[in-house]
Amino acid sequence: MSVDAGRIRAIYRKELREYRRTSTIVATMMALPVGVATFPLLFVLSMPTSAAHTLQGDPLIVLLGIPALVPTTIAAYAVVGERTQGSLEPVLTTAIPGDELLLAKALAALLPSLVVSYGVFALFALITTVFAHPGVAAAVLSWQDVSVQILFTPLLAVLTIWIGIAVSTRTTDVRVAQQLAALAGLPILLVCYLVAFDVIPASIAVAVVLAVVLVVADLLGWRVVSVAFDRERLITSTR
């Protein structure tokens, strides 16, 4: 499949400009990560050194809730937002195919999601290193856990972006789309918590399996959402 880089760049740049100037999106993207990161941070900071040896589960995994939730707020706006403000039809009158439009919007949603997710993780790591007991910091910030964080952040973000965009193409109200997309992201958050609290034991095998599942889901997401993107329905239907 060939895509036109110029058209994708045009939508990508436009989306980023809109994000920067939409205060509700910026505020939501800042508030959600704070809500997700506060509990594990307090947990880690309050742990005595002796607890580092008996630490079960992985509080760092909870931070993966950020790429599981943050992208939905902007991805869910992607199509229905343009539809409600009337700017979707002019775009659809151009030669851009649906799959290119969706890819451009997904890439635009991915960049701020990664910046926020990695940014909060870096801040978490910094505070843990400086303020937690050294033994606890070393146990929490092990290379395996940091690797999981680096690898799974984009994989989860891409999946939740496709979920958000899929919801966005099938709804007529921005708020409903954002709520539905957030709901759809909750199972991912649940899995993160189950791993964090050792209900699902973290192991390399589990990580590899989950990573493969996510890669496949990310690739399929583009195809599935592209097929569901019905130009005629988006223009003519009020449902």
């Binding site: 110029g6 058209r7 045009a10 400009r17 809109e18 939409t22 002019p90 151009t94 030669a95 005629e232």
Partner: protein, 307 residues
């Protein structure tokens, strides 16, 4: 287009529409609300698929396979400008220049902004512009890709007379450059002023032709005569005149003759009036408006459509 039809389930948007629009023509599509004009634009713009029938747009058959190529050759201005209100005028145009694959977008944007008189507003957010200015940005957008065919859906909807006049000038400029313009409107003065030919649509096509052709076809030619005093025997004056098909008195001293050829009948009428001793104040060729044509063809439908 040949017998082009679009239905949404049981609802017919338009049906069996057959007509041809020539290259470089400014063509008006008139009709009341709900007549199918916007759906026609969306169909010809390869945004939605026709239910049946066929059409050729910008030299390409209107098929799903050709949809992207057709959209590459045309430009569509929807009824609402649909601008990104948080972005500036230039940023809006920059986005669409990228979508159209315009080479040297900055020069092109400067050119179209100049064409619509918005050069000095390029850095302003579209959300701060008046409705008329937004409409001009929307027109600038359709000029970006040098389209062969431009579809304009109600381009002056909601604009005041001055803003409408500015939009007319831009549309006339498109026509002068040889762009085929397909204009939908329910403003008859707009169609009369801008369009070479018009079509009247109310789900089905009611008439196609130049405005003067439609007038002649529906009403024939007319000569209006005003005299200083009422004629004592108007039937005796007008009834036997060559080329006069009918006559009627429209006021105490005003008479309307229905004629086949006004230039031949008018001198005959003057001679007859002078012979009858009448003082002729004026003799003019009466002109039915496009509104008369529209109402004659459409108003009956409205009445039929009512429960």
């Amino acid at each position: 287009m040949t017998t082009l039809t679009k239905r949404f389930g049981d609802r017919v948007a338009f049906e069996d529409v057959s007509l041809e629009v020539g290259r470089g023509e400014v063509f008006g599509f008139l009709g009341p609300n709900g007549a199918g004009k916007t759906t026609m634009v969306r169909t010809l713009g390869a945004l939605i698929a026709p239910t049946s029938g066929s059409a050729t747009v910008a030299g390409l058959a209107l098929t799903e396979e050709n949809a992207v190529s057709i959209r590459d050759r045309i430009a569509v201005m929807p009824e609402t400008p649909g601008l990104y209100l948080r972005l500036t005028v230039a940023e809006n145009l920059e986005c669409f220049a990228g979508l159209y694959g315009v080479r040297d977008p900055h020069a092109r944007i400067a050119h179209v902004l100049s064409a619509v008189g918005l050069t000095d507003r390029a850095a302003e957010p579209c959300g701060k512009l008046s409705k008329g200015l937004r409409q001009r940005v929307s027109l600038a957008r359709v000029m970006l890709n040098d389209a062969e065919v431009v579809f304009l859906d109600e381009p002056t909807s909601g604009l005041d007379p001055e803003a409408s006049r500015e939009v007319y000038e831009i549309i006339q400029g498109l026509g002068d450059r040889g762009v085929t313009v397909f204009l939908t409107t329910h403003r008859l003065d707009e169609a009369e002023r801008l369009c070479h030919r018009v079509a009247l649509l109310n789900t089905t096509l009611r008439a196609v032709g130049r405005p003067d052709e439609l007038r002649a076809r529906l009403f024939g030619a007319g000569v209006e005569i005003r005299t200083r005093l009422p004629l004592a025997d108007p039937a005796g004056v007008f009834a036997g005149l060559p080329g006069v098909d009918a006559w009627e008195q429209q006021g105490p001293t005003t008479y309307l003759l229905t004629v086949s050829d006004a230039s031949a009948s008018a001198p005959e009428a003057v001679r007859a009036l002078v012979a009858a001793g009448a003082d002729v104040l004026s003799l003019t060729q009466s002109r039915h408006s496009l509104e008369d044509v529209y109402l004659s063809l459409i108003s009956g439908d409205t009445e039929q459509g009512e429960p």
